[in-house]
């Protein structure tokens, strides 16, 4: 379910790090909690984000959820087409529905994040 190579925040974002860049999205658990996503708002290119800083918003018919940067970095890519197809977040949360790519402020240390097994345990405990 949760890709092994990704790292996960307790706020249900994922990051896939390659070199000094990290692709960021929300997890399958997060999209299920939200329900049908109908709106997504993403940041401008070039924005510098601190770890834990809000970078956007995703809304389902019923709920609003803020998006937080799992690590510090600069926004170097934004998944623009996602705004016109927000349902992709429900359909392929760990793949096509990536939201931004960050140029990591500190590529060495994605600290405080969970691996897939630890994240799955977290989700299992929240679902109870």
């Amino acid at each position: 379910m949760y890709p092994q190579g990704y790292r996960y925040s307790k706020g249900h974002e994922w990051i896939a790090v390659e070199g000094d860049r990290g692709r960021v999205g929300i997890t399958d658990y997060a999209q299920k909690q939200l329900g049908d996503v109908v709106f997504v708002e993403l940041p401008e290119l070039g924005r510098k984000l601190a770890s834990g800083e809000q970078f956007g918003t995703v809304e389902s018919v019923k709920a609003v959820s803020e998006l937080y940067a799992p690590v510090a970095g600069e926004v170097v890519e934004v998944n623009g087409p996602l705004a016109d197809k927000p349902e992709t977040i429900n359909q392929d949360p760990h793949g096509a529905a990536w939201m931004i790519v960050l140029k990591l402020a500190d590529p060495a240390a994605p600290g405080g994040l969970l691996d897939a097994a630890a994240y799955e345990a977290l989700v299992a405990s929240e679902a109870k």
Binding site: G35, D36, V38, F39, T57, S60, V61, K62, A83, N90
Partner: protein, 366 residues
Amino acid sequence: MAELRKTPLHEIHRESGAKMVPFGGWDMPVEYAGLIAEHQAVRRAAGLFDVSHMGEFELEGPGATAFLQRVTANNVAKLADGQAQYSALPMPSGCPVDDVIVYRRGPERYLIVVNAANIAKDWEWLQSQGPSGCTLEDQSDAFALIALQGPKAEAILQGLTPVDLKAIAFYRFAEGSVCGHESIVARTGYTGEDGFELFLAPRDAPAVWRQLIEAGRPQGLQPAGLGARDTLRLEARMMLYGNDMDETTTLIEAGLSWIVSFDEAKGDFNGRAALLEQKAKGAPRRLAGFETTERGIPRHGYPVFLGDEEAGAVTSGSFAPFLQKSIGLAYLPAARAAVGTELSVGIRGRRIGARVVPTPFYKRPR
């Protein structure tokens, strides 16, 4: 906090994997397969809703009609047996304690359906109004209520009941058997579609639910939750008590003049003087429907601006799944509530453009 109450269909909802939420003190299904799919199923085929949390009061006796005339806004004398009427319980201020549906089961016998969250409040209010020559009973626990809504509703239900559904017009009802169980079959609903509401004994509800699902599935029937119920009713501009009206909004401001009868035959009723005066002078504000002209979703409580001036708040707002746009309702000064008026909605510190539009936002094809 008190334990959440469970409807007779609770077990079925859990089995079908519904997402459950607390609503009005009840543990209710908010969605099954997904809100949008359920919403579209109701517009295009049919949806099945458990609305057993709604309250039912029975009123009976020679004084029943006179009592109802005194405590409701609409003219009960217009009802014949087997007819239903949308109405409200106004206070002397002309603002509603609740909105209700009154069903006339006999010349001296009525069923009043009230909102789940208001059962206790309505009960106390009606008691305080001194029902005389009639008995008022809270029968909320004696009824399960299942709503079958959508263009395929009649075809699906007709296979399961000897009651001639074609003979039941909109806001009419009959009493007969459904799946072999006694039921009140009412052509009413809260979705803007054709459909039926079935009042059943709680013990019979699970069997009827399962048979409806089975019979309806080939025709596109899906179980639908409170989430879709809310977006469906908003597209049809049906009011939600507690959001779009409450004890501070008069029925005229809420756009419900059509359920207020000043007919002499009805006589005096709670709020008549206040409502008559407001009708003559004109209401200072009016509940208007709007759609956004920019991306964003207005939601309950978000501020509404006319120019730079904060003019009110969104009472109900949502992305409308069938219309594929964002819509909402808000009270606006009457002079600035005309169709075409530009306004904006404050969404997380930003202003999103919007425009007053005619309502209902959605009207079903006939």
